[in-house]
């Protein structure tokens, strides 16, 4: 009995060049969102996971490079307070938003957060990017 050959995954693109170019031209968030789309098309591509992590790492590093560092105090944005429905927060984001009271700095938020340090910082960076929160200079 003959069997059909299993469908082969498409060959992986040159992620290093693509991601490098995208970072230079479109910035970290655009690149991150594109990579998340690519991950659906290449679910078994291990190196793609690595490129996603490199971009996530860059996002968190930029976020903590705030002049006030871990003493920066995030606040809910006016847009979030007046137009809450526009933000489609997931459970993790919702929980972190509930901790933001305009007094706790990043250091305290990391202590209060039930999530690991990196996830907490990445989620706060995402909330900042989506303008749900602001981190005043």
């Amino acid at each position: 009995m003959s069997s059909l050959p299993s469908p082969k995954a498409p060959p992986s693109p040159d992620w290093s060049r693509l991601v490098g170019d995208s970072l230079r031209q479109n910035g970290v968030w655009h690149t991150f969102l594109k990579l998340m789309e690519a991950a659906k098309a290449y679910p078994n591509d291990l190196s793609l996971r690595g490129y996603i992590e490199i971009v996530r790492n860059a996002i968190v590093r930029d976020f903590v490079a705030h002049p006030k560092g871990m003493q920066a105090v995030p606040k809910l944005s006016a847009e979030f307070l007046t137009n809450f429905d526009r933000f489609n927060l997931n459970a993790q984001e919702g929980y972190l938003v509930s901790l933001i009271d305009g007094r706790f700095d990043l250091q305290k938020l990391l202590i209060l957060s039930p999530f690991d340090t990196f996830t907490t910082l990445f989620t706060l960076a995402k909330l900042t990017y989506e303008r749900a929160i602001t981190v005043p200079q």
């Binding site: 290093s16 291990l46 190196s47 793609l48 690595g50 992590e53 490199i54 990196f118």
Partner: protein, 358 residues
């Protein structure tokens, strides 16, 4: 074979023979006759036999007949030969393979001697070095001792260098075990989250000293795997240490774990060690797992390594049935990715269960 080809093969110094699946010699060159004489038919009988589900080594050449090349190291009458299948000869009535026999006994003995020597030297070096480390640790931990700042700095430097030397010695020890085939991975349930935490904790001081933000990033639902806590911790420590060498001040290193699921079923854990270092050149990426390979980029922390760290990581991951990959963008960072399979056990109801990390 035509006459010219036969004459040519006959003059080669490497023993070559065409042997059937059942162990009959259809052709042998002079070198084969000189090496094995008429005894060959005797050991070929054993080599072609399949006993109690176990195949003789000759059968191995006929199992994967479609593979272009196949090489096996086999023991024949007290000597080790590297047997290489040069070509398959498929006919209607039977199959035969043209095999060359390269005597590698001396090479094997030399490798074993080298490995034994490395093992001995490494063990002999570890003892006194542990003593030096213990002494330095004791002196530096004495509260209330008034040491001149200059001496404290020098002692700290001595401690750092002794740690580095211990790392190099341990790498050599592992390498010697891998090369001699004695690299054994114990099979026990392993909390991957615990492995990551331990690795991060052990290098936190070094990272803080170099002003690098070292964080772990893993969810709470990371299942356990079957493997060796010690070896996996060592693999993650090797990767983080490597990242520390190439990440500038104010940089970031994250150590994460994600679960890969097929529906609800956890299939694997993907561990990533990602840094914001200088990255690796595209043409060097494929070779970084090879032994003695060092990055073309210069370490920011000084002091070279053995070039064995990443090679050892690859051996550890493969010993766990996993795979390894790397992603890098020059000037942005590098991420080392390990995929470790989750051990599943069948349940009485015919379902599955993964060992959960609680």
């Amino acid at each position: 074979m035509n006459k010219m080809a036969i004459a040519l093969v006959d003059r080669l110094s490497t023993p070559i023979a065409v042997i059937t699946e059942t162990g009959l010699i259809e052709y042998r060159n002079t070198a084969f006759q000189q090496a094995f004489g008429d005894d060959a038919s005797h050991w070929l009988k054993d080599a072609s036999r399949a006993l109690a589900g176990e195949r003789g080594w000759l059968q191995g050449f006929f199992v994967d007949a479609e593979e272009e090349h196949k090489t096996l190291d086999v023991e024949i009458e007290g000597r080790v030969y590297r047997v290489d299948r040069i070509m398959m000869i498929a006919r209607e009535e039977s199959r035969a393979a043209a095999l060359s026999f390269d005597d590698v006994t001396a090479q094997r003995e030399m490798e074993q001697a080298k490995s034994d020597f490395t093992s001995m030297v490494v063990h002999d070096l570890r003892g006194p070095l542990s003593g030096i480390q213990g002494t330095l640790e004791f002196v530096l931990s004495q509260e209330g001792t008034r040491l001149d700042a200059m001496y404290t700095d020098l002692l700290n430097e001595a401690q750092r260098e002794s740690e580095r030397m211990m790392g190099l010695i341990n790498e050599l020890l592992d390498f010697s075990k891998i090369e001699s085939g004695n690299f054994v991975v114990e099979k026990e349930p392993v909390r991957v989250a615990g492995v990551l935490k331990r690795a991060v904790r052990s290098l936190q001081t070094v990272a803080a000293r170099d002003e690098i933000f070292l964080v772990s990033a893993h969810g709470r639902d990371v299942p356990m795997i079957i493997g060796s806590v010690e070896k996996l911790t060592q693999a993650v420590i090797n990767l983080v240490s490597n990242s520390l060498k190439f990440t500038p001040k104010k940089g970031m290193i994250s150590v994460g774990a994600q679960v890969v699921r097929n529906g609800d079923v956890p299939e694997a854990i993907v561990v990533t060690v990602t840094d914001s270092g200088m990255g690796i050149k595209a043409d060097e990426l494929a070779q970084i797992w090879e032994k003695y390979k060092q990055s073309g980029n210069k370490s920011l922390r000084g002091g070279g390594g053995t070039g064995l760290g990443l090679y050892i990581v690859k051996q550890i991951v493969e010993a766990h049935g996993g795979e390894i990959s790397v992603a890098s963008i020059e000037g942005v960072g590098t991420s080392m990715v390990l995929r470790l399979p989750v051990k599943r056990t069948a349940t009485a109801s015919g379902g599955w269960t993964a060992i959960q990390d609680r």
